[in-house]
Symmetry: C2
Subunit: 217 residues, 2 copies
DNA sequence: TTGGAGCATAATGTATACAGAATCCCGGAT
DNA sequence: ATCCGGGATTCTGTATACATTATGCTCCAA
């Protein structure tokens, strides 16, 4: 099956990737004309991608003033974090039949995660993949899409955290706890642990973020 | 404070409104060029609005084949319904300080709701407003935005239900139950009732939808 | 020196132009 | 009559053009 994909989607992924990798610092302007020539396409698909990113909260946009990378804001992190905690736990509860191979795949990702010391991007990619695999059995595609879209937000904060705070890799401890709950108590208990871990991680990130904004730069 | 608003936002609201009012039947094509001339703007803002509607699930779009109004699909309704039930209950739990006037406003909306017999659109508008007022105290703006965006989906099903099933108005019974729980048990118990009412409403709508798709048209 | 008015420049939002793909229509073959 | 193929036409996706608004700089005045 061949599928043509709109340019705007490709541009979207490119730009999002660059933002997540820190190529465009917070608050910096993203000019459609510059991006267009840089990516070798016209302004139209670039603008469509930027509009989407703005709707998803990655960019700010005010009429006539273009787009800029949204500054990290503890409030935003908390707001999205609370939503994501609820949604991912919900997705876990909805995952009825869980393949036995799933636990193996999760463990394997954790294994890779532990030896990516230093590479923040690879680390975050694996973190994303871990969540994808964990929720893979959830039949609610719409929910999974929504989660994937929202996860971009904490990802940016994690990336900044790892870059600036010197923390070299994500702890796999929360993963282990969730897997244990999954193995022993099933999805419901895992969902509870999940929410609890989310709260802990949020608190840690938030603590760092507020200290960071206290002494800017 | 004067605010200029992009044309795409205005077009978005117009088109969404028309879809919700049943002006474009399910499955019908929406041609950007036709809409553009009809609305007196160019294709560009129209296409931006259509792309957004497609991302929100109101429209289908496949590369090179334009946009069409998504057919009502019981699966979609259930998927979004489950998400919305969780999110609205969450928003209710997060609403800490509740103004005393809120209950009055809710009762007043219900009052108006009971005398809109026949006008499906007014009825749905009031239903939306009821939910907005109920969740108004939730400080998580991001969550409220998400809820507002997702509510478009069940709204379409409700509109079709009211038009085709002959049910003239929404029952205000669920509202009464939720308000009672809110008054007596606070937000947490209201959230529980909320989720329960969501499940009931979903089941009813789903039942109708599946019977409807069984005998198409 | 600083603050602001006015102009030049650049960038955004919107409109239009263009190329290629999808759809439709019709004629011919089976 | 029905199914298939080819060509015309419509429409989409992308590129480019245009007009208006924001921005930045210069020069003048307080």
């Amino acid at each position: 099956m061949i599928t043509r994909v709109p340019l705007r989607d490709e541009v979207y992924r490119q730009v999002l990737d660059r933002i997540q990798r820190g190529r465009y610092p917070d608050g910096s302007r993203l000019q459609d004309t510059a991006l267009a020539s840089e990516l070798g396409v016209s302004r139209t698909p670039v603008r469509e991608a930027l509009i989407r990113l703005a709707r998803e909260g990655v960019l700010d946009s005010s009429m006539g003033r273009g787009f800029r990378v949204r500054e990290l804001d503890p409030v935003e992190l908390r707001e999205v974090g609370v939503i994501l905690g609820g949604l991912e736990a919900l997705a876990l509860r909805l995952s009825s039949g869980r393949a036995a191979s799933q636990l193996d795949r999760l463990a394997e990702i954790d294994h890779r995660l532990e030896r990516t010391r230093g590479d923040a991007d690879a680390c975050l990619d694996l973190e994303d993949e871990w969540h994808r695999v964990l929720l893979d059995a959830c039949p609610n595609r719409r929910l999974l899409d929504l989660i994937a879209s929202l996860r971009q937000v904490p990802r940016r904060y994690l990336a900044a955290y790892m870059r600036e705070a010197g923390r070299l890799s994500l702890s796999t401890l929360p993963h282990a706890r969730i897997i244990a709950a999954l193995r022993e108590g099933g999805h419901d208990s895992a969902a509870a642990v999940f929410e609890q871990q989310w709260r802990k991680g949020l608190a840690e990130l938030e603590d760092w973020t507020s200290r960071r904004s206290a002494k800017p730069r």
